[in-house]
Point group: C2
Chain length 213, copies 2
Amino acid sequence: MTDETSHLRSDARENRDRVLQAARELFGARGLDVTMRDVARHAGVGPATLYRRFPTRQDLVDAAFEDELELCRSIVLEGAALPDPWLGLRSVVERTVELNARNQGFVDALVAAGQVSDRLARHRAELLHAMAGLALRAKAAGRLRPDFVVDDLLLVLLAARGLGGDDPAERLGAARRFAALALDSFRASATNERLPEPARVVGAVLRAAARPT
Amino acid sequence: MTDETSHLRSDARENRDRVLQAARELFGARGLDVTMRDVARHAGVGPATLYRRFPTRQDLVDAAFEDELELCRSIVLEGAALPDPWLGLRSVVERTVELNARNQGFVDALVAAGQVSDRLARHRAELLHAMAGLALRAKAAGRLRPDFVVDDLLLVLLAARGLGGDDPAERLGAARRFAALALDSFRASATNERLPEPARVVGAVLRAAARPT
């Protein structure tokens, strides 16, 4: 490979990353109801460049969410594989909340309402299933409060989006403290009080995922 | 008052409300770094109408945050006045998180970084002071975990912004469940584990509030 082709390839990759970054930001801020033109403008690339990389809007949506879901998948499957289910749950909460502090589009990719491809919908259903299994085992071990539902985990992930903060180190510190508090709220404890009705986050995600694409 | 003047007054009030609503939305989404022109456009009123109601940008900022801070103030002072400090703290958490579910600009008004008037800065300092006093009493009563800091309450309020949701009833349900979980995480319990370093939210708010205006 000559220096020039290497340079061209790195330009192409940079454009692709920039488009995906812009798409994630816009999808995160406004949901999936964003035009290709908006994404191109936000990324600072021409429409031709955008359509060369992503011929259809669905290609762009899938690609924008692909990396985040893959990361989330490995976090959940690794957590579920730990012998101690409470340590598994802790690992899932800590890693997902921290990841969200580093990449604000992450949770949006997981819970985004709206059309996603069949593949991503199956991916999400698999994740929710693995989380539910982990929760069952942690309850059976007497570590997780009996009235915990997987929606509570999604609630904490959604909430982590609100932590914000411009400084990356402060954002990460806030995420860690928040994750530790969330874990203490999930823990089975004699002092826990009765919770109000669960929020219906999982249902909304699955309904959104089940829409035809 | 004739029907016509009554109609004019209601028009004027509607414009004012629309401008304040637009200002809160933009301040909430982008912080205080928003131009008067942006606010007028977002509110769908002419610049003349905007400047007639709010001669300076500072007038607009103060007015946009005034109502929310007044509400927050009564919530905190009423909570702090309850004889049982844990019930006081619970009331503050539940009411502020629920209020935020109804009015998404509420927490932004409380924690917005950036310039606010001396009056609002004093207001915020007074609230933080009252919350700190309540926390001290709840710790002394053995109900609040000893490693709780007021930053944790602000962290929960910031996080509540992330709950989102388009349906008001679902949003309120999620807020209530989240507030109950947050309270259980604050509760003194034998099963609580050591938390990571506190996030420095209060410091950031006070630094922001102390800037000259």
